[in-house]
Amino acid sequence: MMALRRTMLYLPGNNPNMLMRGHLFKPDGVILDLEDSVSLGEKEAARTLVRETLKNVDFGECEVTVRINGLDTPFWKRDLEEVIPWGIDGIRVPKVETPQDVKLLDEAISEIENKHNLPEGKVQITCLLETALGIWNAYHIATASKRVTAICPGGEDLRADLKTSRSENSEELVSPRRMVVLAAHAAKVDPLDTVFADITDDEGLRRETQWVKQIGYQGKSVIHPNQIPIIHDVFTPTEKEIAQAQKIVQAAKEAAEKGLGAVSVDGKMVDRPVVKRAEYVLQRAGLLEGGE
């Protein structure tokens, strides 16, 4: 089944309690964070803690990624060296601005994979686009390496780069979000949305998630476990949607068996894109194998 990335939960790399328990809240993925949640003085300790966590904790079905420090810092190479040998699924890298950034990272990862006799190319990359330049280059970044599996627009850093600030409806992020989602689908990688910062505003989170889902996002980064059920709820197809999709897929199957091209469901003609969409709904609901 296609791996879901509805919720990617950040776990502060200096918080053993969260590192140990984060996966218990059943996000689709966990992100062990060495960047923003760790102060400069704690970088070394957090790296050790994250490494030990990777060695000792069974994360179950969660996709495991590590957010390393930016390529403009002295930390990122050491970050990679400590975490890649322990079987992680991917690296999340902040402030990517150009395809060259991705290539640099790709090579560094390959080097470590080779050194540890790991299959080359298995570790994926999620790029955070937190500047106007990064957003502008989104498609080229997403296609710069086969490792790139998802791209995400930034939040606060991006606002700062855009010389603006947070508004009630995040008006300032509408265009960047749309550009990223377009680039991601063009490059066939997952568009994942940024975090929703107000952890007590359940309704606001639901509204924002509904909106990003509607414009094509596949999931969101999460900063608090209580946000997970709300986002899952939004991204999980309703029973009505599932029933309709099953009807369409069944009709298409029968038509194919009979050698018919066009299908009609409830008096409406159903063409290929509609069937594709229905199949996607069933995949999301865990009712259909396969995927892109």
Partner: protein, 517 residues
């Protein structure tokens, strides 16, 4: 020394407790013999229509209280209580010594008693100790061992004659001059007076202490004039801020919510989740959140419960008013909404501790309970639970209704994080046994739910799912060890500073003096 049914070495004689200690043999093994205890007859003629006395000292004199006697208190004023401290201050000033105090519970505010312990005014505490007094006792600061009983075990001890109360001092938020008492009204209102009833019935002398003396007869009488010998009015019996909390809110702590969700799912998947379900939860974070999830499931499936039991919060009051319970059985009202509801809603019933949980009567409430969600400081491979001692061996908590509800409920769920900080809560063997594993059905942690192998029927009825990950208790112990490493054993001396009675009066465990840090 002899080993009891939970494998604890218990001396046959414990100085200051009993010369012939009864060992715990199993949850339903000890049966009562003989008749109930009764206090002396008395009469009051029409010539006496006013029982008020000018102050506490006058009441102490009239009651006949002398050194070496036993005095009792209830804990409905919780951490706002002034009465225990006022009475002991008066005793000290009057030169009374060597008292046994027999409270239903003590709180942090009773730290004040430390000086009375040190000066010999108080010789023994039979009741829960916590905070500074618990620490003092744990380090050997009391001459005689603390005796802990459950909320049901205490009235059992009184009614059977194990403990004779000489004078009961009953804090009364409202009283009249002839001794009718209520907790429902007054500046220090606390709602139910459930824990005071047995004391009012059985103490040789009953003194009511109030800060709201009203015209006769008082409204909504909970303890009647027939039981009360004297009434004293004081300025304040307590601090309302410490007596009841505001509205009780459900936690947002994700780990507590996760544990609560598993506990609720377990209830929902059990055979007991059906029309007429009854349940009890504490007011603690996990318990209350579990109740919220169960409530949501009841709404969704259109299930109506029969009764909610125990310490009552606004949360249960709302469920009553919504029709999700037919009745609330209230031994203790935790917050303002519960206090306001008790006198206004006939379906919100005050019950005594005897009615609530005493194993030695014709049937207490806990026997009718379907499910209870309880906490623990530790639980072990045998499902034995410790709620009394902390990880350093200090005796800091009472038993509450833990043993009683666990023993009565058809589904007893213990909720606890697997680790607190880096200290495991699921261990090989608990330091102190409060509640025996034979009455515990499941342990719920954030790392999964372990069902007691004694409950094969429950295991057969429950399907594991993503929302209800089943594990064994041994897996939980091993997981905790892996995450936390080995713990150093608690260092203690041989001296017994606490006796933990099971609700039937047998000894389930003892607590020994810890080595001072």
């Amino acid at each position: 020394m002899a080993v009891n049914a939970v494998g604890r070495d218990i001396p046959s004689s414990i100085p200051g407790y009993k010369d012939d200690v009864v060992l715990f043999r199993g949850a339903t093994k000890r049966l009562p013999k003989g008749n109930r205890y009764g206090k002396k007859n008395r009469t009051t003629f029409f010539t006496k229509t006013d029982k008020t006395l000018p102050n506490i000292k006058a009441a102490i004199r009239e009651s006949g209280l002398q050194s070496g006697m036993t005095i009792s208190f209830h804990h409905h004023l919780r951490n706002g209580d002034y009465v225990v401290n006022m009475v002991l201050d008066a005793c000290a000033e009057m030169g009374i010594k060597d008292l046994v105090i027999f409270p239903t519970a003590l709180f942090g505010v009773h730290k004040h008693l430390t000086k009375h312990i040190q000066k010999g005014v108080i010789r023994q505490i039979q009741g829960s100790v916590n905070g500074p007094i618990g620490q003092l006792a744990s380090e050997g600061g009391m001459e005689l061992p603390v005796v802990l009983r459950s909320h049901g075990g205490r009235p059992r001890a009184v009614i059977s004659g194990d403990v004779k109360i000489d004078v009961a001092f009953i804090a009364a938020p409202t009283a009249d001059k002839y001794g009718n008492l209520t907790g429902a009204y007054g500046q220090s209102a606390c709602g139910s007076l459930g824990y005071a009833h047995t004391d009012a019935d059985y103490a040789e002398c009953v003194v009511a202490i109030t800060d709201n003396l009203v015209e006769y007869p008082a409204p909504y009488i909970q303890i009647p004039q027939t039981q009360v010998d004297y009434v004293v009015q004081v300025d304040k019996i307590g601090d309302p801020a410490g007596i009841v909390s505001g509205t009780t809110r459900v936690t947002r702590d994700p780990m507590r919510l996760l544990i609560a969700r598993y506990a609720a799912k377990l209830i929902e998947s059990s055979p007991y989740f059906k029309e007429g379900i009854s349940f009890q939860t504490g007011a603690g974070g996990i318990s209350l959140a579990a109740a919220a999830y169960v409530r949501d499931a009841m709404r969704k499936k259109g299930i109506k419960g029969s009764f909610g039991l125990g310490g009552i919060t606004s949360f249960f009051v709302d469920m009553l008013e919504e029709g999700l319970f037919r009745q609330l059985m209230d031994v203790q009202s935790f917050d303002l909404a519960a206090v306001e509801s008790i006198s206004r809603n006939a379906a919100h019933v005050e019950i005594s501790a005897d009615w609530y949980a005493n194993p030695w009567n014709a049937g207490c409430m806990v026997n009718m309970l379907d499910t209870v969600v309880l906490g623990a400081t530790e639980v072990d491979r045998d499902f034995n639970v410790n709620v009394n001692t902390e990880s350093d061996g200090a005796l800091l908590h009472g038993i509450g209704g833990h043993q009683d509800t666990a023993s009565g409920a058809k589904l007893t769920i213990i909720t606890t994080p697997l680790l607190r900080g880096r200290i495991p809560s699921v261990v090989d063997s608990v330091y102190t046994v409060t509640t025996p594993g034979e009455v515990v059905d499941a342990v719920v942690t954030e790392f999964g739910v372990a069902i007691n192998p004694r409950r094969q029927d429950l295991m057969d009825a429950i399907k594991p799912s993503k929302d209800l990950p089943l594990v064994t208790i041994d897996e939980l112990v091993e997981k905790a060890k892996k995450l936390a490493g080995d713990m150093a054993p608690i260092e203690h001396t041989d001296r017994i500073i606490g006796v933990i009675e099971y609700r039937d009066g047998s000894v389930i465990d003892v607590v020994r003096q810890i080595k001072k840090k």
